[in-house]
């Protein structure tokens, strides 16, 4: 069975410092992994996705994530946080058929000016 664990429910960083949002997954096969961002009172927007083409995935707004099979991790990073990055972030794994998606519980990112 597939599942996702987001290790931190809240992360606070100062503007201009690096961001690290952690995600570990459980999957019985080679997974499809996604990061979504949800700004306050908005819908979910795709940041990036892992499709097995490359282990380091670059997304929008300067975010990237690295797929590490040995660690079953897909952590999201950004070198320098911006105030506009304050949002809820969801790590997602999909099933083998690509029909069902399993969401993590979300990480709320606060950026301190």
């Amino acid at each position: 069975a597939q599942s996702v664990t987001q290790l931190d429910s809240h992360v606070s960083v100062s503007e201009g410092t690096p961001v690290l949002l952690r995600c570990n997954y459980s999957s019985s096969y080679s997974p499809s992994l996604f990061w979504y961002v949800q700004h306050p009172n908005k819908g979910l927007q795709l940041l990036l996705k892992y499709t097995s083409a490359a282990t380091l995935v670059k997304g929008i707004n300067g975010f990237e994530a690295e797929f590490k099979k040995s660690e079953t991790s897909f952590h999201l990073t950004k070198p320098s946080a911006h105030m506009s990055d304050a949002a809820e972030y969801f790590c997602v794994v999909s099933d083998d058929g690509g029909n069902q998606f399993y969401f993590g519980t979300g990480t709320s990112l606060t950026v301190i000016p």
Binding site: S32, F34, Y36, Q38, N41, K42, G43, L44, Q45, L46, K49, T51, S52, E88, F90, S94, D95, D96, G97, G98, N99, Q100, F101, F103, T105, G106, S108
Partner: protein, 114 residues
Amino acid sequence: DTAVSQTPKYLVTQMGNDKSIKCEQNLGHDTMYWYKQDSKKFLKIMFSYNNKELIINETVPNRFSPKSPDKAHLNLHINSLELGDSAVYFCASIASGGSYNEQFFGPGTRLTVL
């Protein structure tokens, strides 16, 4: 030219009422979903339809009834609304046929039951 749209955006109603939320996507996708997001931001899948056929039906009270008149629309009807139904409901769609395809989400419908 919104990709996935939902109406209404906000819905405030009394306990015991029946209400519907509509979702439409203009992406030509085959599969659509309803999710419920609670006050702690946790997203729970409720239903999924592929080409108007129900393919995922999680443990949801039978007061919730989805309807897909065509593959571009997936509506959610809720009977006898309860306080615990208060949440944000998101519609999403995906192009089927690839395990790397991502979901596209609507803006959400915030339902408040008084």
